[in-house]
Amino acid sequence: MAEQEEALGRSAPVIEPGHTFATVTDKISSIVLTRPTSKSWIVGFTVGFALTMMMLFAIGYLVVRGTGIWGINIPIGWGFAIVNFVWWIGIGHAGTLISAILLLLRQSWRNSINRFAEAMTLFAVMAAGIFPLIHTGRPWLAYWMFPYPNTMGYWPQFRSPLIWDVFAVSTYFTISLVFWFIGLIPDLATLRDRSHNRFAKIIYGILALGWRGSARHWHRYETAYLLLGGLATPLVLSVHTVVSFDFAIAIVPGWHTTIFPPYFVAGAIYSGFAMVMMLAIPIRKIYNLEDFITDRHLQNSAKVMLATGWIVAYGYGMEAFMGWYSGNKFDSFLLWNRLHGPYAVWYWALLICNIGIPQALAFRKMRTSPLWLWLISLVVLVGMWLERFIIVVVSLHRDFVTSSWGMYYPTKWDWMTYIGTMGMFLAAIFLFVRILPMISIFEMRTLLPEAEVKE
């Protein structure tokens, strides 16, 4: 039995032995309450903040000059804005998968990474939301997409996938936010009771809503939390499905396929877990959290990446197969164009990043080495970005009529906006780890042996 566990990589504990309620509480809350702000934190936050300012500058210039400053044109009207939107929103999906789906499946190892992953979801969705907003060209009129009585006598068109997207993404953000917040309430009460700084006590006290850990409260709390998990599960699967409908409902070759919803969802989780690894590996090192984010977490996440990577590979295979099997000349041309056209080098890079290199995760040595995991995660994130680039740009640049073919070249404004959102994401993550407990303290307590109650 022990050997089998060892072979499955389950031997690593979820929490290192020797911890008690008090040590778990102290260790996690001290990061927020007593630990001095380190130099590396200041440097990291400053970089993130500076890039955020660059993004705001790029957006400011966009508002003044219009979307002509970007590389988009006709036929490639979508460009970076939609590529980045899909990439970011996909990254967010891992957070909800960890917090909701693994909750329903009773995977208790999720307890030490869910808070952190949910925060990542929120920041990723914020970064994602910027892109369609500024891509509209007149972001100050974006509220026209919501149904509200207005003097123009106008209402949104509910047969359009773009309106479905507005509803899916805004619901996703709202539910992720409240899910994250109610998860935080008991921990905010812990911070309220433990902080010595009067200002912090008041702020945490207000946010904790007067939580006192009553048995009645816990009972309703757990029901609400479980129901939210149950609601968030179909929601997260629906969000990337709806995003894929933005493409699949159109008749453009390369977009009009039924494989898109499952393949988009798998790709989202794939890139999301890669982002979780990218962040968790350095953070557990910097804050000495190896006791809580153990090798078990890294291994499990690597396995999820491996499995979702295979689903993504199947999606690519099916796309290629349908290009040949459908006998449709536009579909076959699309396949040829991907493999040999002007963007072929990126298609091959995508195959290497998403299918080739991540197969290394099949080896346990790779799954247990934080450095290799971090590098493979980086490769997957690049690969998933390339996937969206291929889907958006290569499909649009050569469609049915040769006279309307074109090429897409991103400008510096495209890059500044994209890199700027990464800075915003980074700055938000840095702020989060500094002012809120990045690991759910009360859920960690439930994992300790002393929490067990005999009937």
């Binding site: 309620f21 509910f158 619901t171 539910i175 006192r212 009360f442």
Partner: protein, 183 residues
Amino acid sequence: MSAHEKHQHPVYGLMAEFASAQDLIEAANRTREAGYKKIDAYSPFPIEGMAEAIGFHKNGVPLVVLIGGIVGGLTGYALQYWIATMAYPVNVGGKPFHSWPSFIIVTFEMTILFAGLSAVLGMLALNGLPMPYHPVFNVPRFALASKDRFFLIIFASDAKYDAAGTRQFLEGFHPRSLSEVPS
């Protein structure tokens, strides 16, 4: 609580502190069995069976969520139906105005949105939160209820409550500390 009642119950209750979840749940079970009805337990994490131990069975959250979900779904569909057929009918490629398959997604999202917000707001409302002040916070040791200690309270409003007798009863559990909670 009126001034008259306040005079009747100068204390809010008696609170016993325990070092483990096991001690708390055993004490709560025996307190309930002894006939005390108005009791509560406080712990730094949810304990399975704790709600039953203090005799709490009514949990309104699932019903609130169900109603929220139904209202959300109906609102979403009705909104789209009304807009597409009455308020702003647009002929798209000769498709019927009531093109219901297109309305499923927004109906679904509204169901989840309303149900999810009902879960959160319903849970908070039923729990009476936010409540910045509560008498139990007057006990200095109660700050540990969010760390590693477990508390059982018998409210002074309980019919069986009697300052000396209840104190003696709680002392029988050998608690870590026993405090009177001022009202």
